[in-house]
């Protein structure tokens, strides 16, 4: 009889151990970022361009928020609207935490992307999105600082999304096909202070 209870006890302890291990690895797995982590976080180069309201805006104006920075153009038919759509869903799904995130689009086609054109484009997605344009000279410096390749009058360009934290540090980058849930998981990890 005593042996029987001993076996029950051992089985219970083994089950408890398995459950503990499961939760340990599940929690550990959740702490991994989906984007490409930049170590150590690098200073996001500040720049000043013109927003869709014709106002001079600097990247540093958004200190205190997580910035999702993307480079594209308004007449793009694929990656640019697709990325804006994904980022729109990211903010939608963050709900009351959406105000912690600012989406910024910097044009790769300054010849056609005037402030008004950029504003009309972004309003199709989210009125809080900020679009920036400027002179070719100013924009070329920004593209260079962020490793953005721009060819064919801006129609061929890199498609990274850069995540900059509230202190102005570049923390993560994402390729074009990153899913909404991956952005949200990473942002929530950052909100927790990881």
């Amino acid at each position: 009889m005593q042996k029987k209870w001993l076996w029950y006890l051992l089985a219970g302890l083994a089950l408890l151990g398995v459950v503990a291990l499961y939760f340990f690895y599940a929690i550990k797995a959740k702490q991994t970022y989906h984007g490409s982590v930049i170590t150590p976080p690098a200073d996001a180069v500040d720049f000043s361009l013109t927003n869709q309201k014709n106002e001079t805006t600097s990247l540093s104006d958004f200190r205190g928020k997580y910035i999702l920075l993307f480079f594209g153009f308004t007449t793009c038919t694929d990656e640019c609207p697709a990325t804006m759509g994904v980022l729109m869903q990211v903010r939608d799904q963050l709900k009351d935490q959406a105000d912690k995130v600012q989406v910024v689009l910097v044009t790769t086609d300054p010849a056609r992307d005037t402030p008004q054109v950029i504003g009309e484009f972004l309003n199709r997605f989210d009125s809080t999105f900020v679009g920036l344009t400027g002179s070719p000279t100013d924009l070329q410096k920004v593209w260079k600082d962020y490793g953005v390749t721009v060819l064919d009058n801006g129609e061929t360009h890199s498609t990274f999304v850069y995540l900059i934290d509230p202190e102005g540090k570049l923390r993560l980058t994402y390729p074009f096909d990153t899913r909404v849930e991956d952005y949200i998981a990473d942002l929530k990890l950052l909100f927790k202070g990881n």
Binding site: I38, T39, D43, G147, F160, Y162, L170
Partner: protein
């Protein structure tokens, strides 16, 4: 059957040793360092880093940028003085655009890791059919003799 598996095992092991496969390892973090001055040398057409590299599924490529300018490798942006990671989760052959090669291309070959389990499975896949064939051959080479019936004197 045992003989078939044994022969398959010997052939597999000898082949494995001769080829010297480098994918028989667990996934790990692999570091690629971009040394200082790379961008200047690339501008002159010089190649500083290997043009391609092999990985196994599950590896994490960490690109460490010791240069004074930012670099790019495919979907990864690496600011000067920082590192950025790229997780390789799928077996595939990749040609990524990069900024640290004069050709602007860096090749990544990601293969399934050759684990002990994979090797055993391979041996069994070859060894079991070989065992059946050997068994059939043995019936031809040494046919079974019918049992002699006992005679009653």
């Amino acid at each position: 059957m045992i003989l078939g598996i044994l022969i398959a095992g010997i052939v597999s092991e000898v082949s494995f040793r001769l080829i010297g496969d480098r994918t028989s390892r667990a996934p790990q973090v692999v570091e690629l360092v971009i040394p200082k001055g790379t961008s200047e040398k690339v501008a002159l057409g010089e190649s500083v880093l290997p043009k391609e590299q092999n990985f196994v599924v599950g590896d994490t490529l960490v690109v460490k940028n010791e240069d004074t300018v930012a670099h790019v490798l495919g979907p990864v942006f690496i600011p000067a003085g920082s590192s950025a990671s790229l997780k390789l989760d799928q077996p595939e052959n990749l040609s990524y655009t990069c900024s640290f090669q004069p050709t602007k291309v860096f090749g990544l070959t990601v293969r399934e890791a050759l684990t002990i389990r994979t090797r055993i499975e391979g041996i069994l896949i070859a060894g079991i059919p070989m065992g059946f064939l050997l068994a059939l051959y043995s019936l031809v080479a040494w046919p079974l003799e019918p049992k002699k019936q006992a005679t009653i004197p």
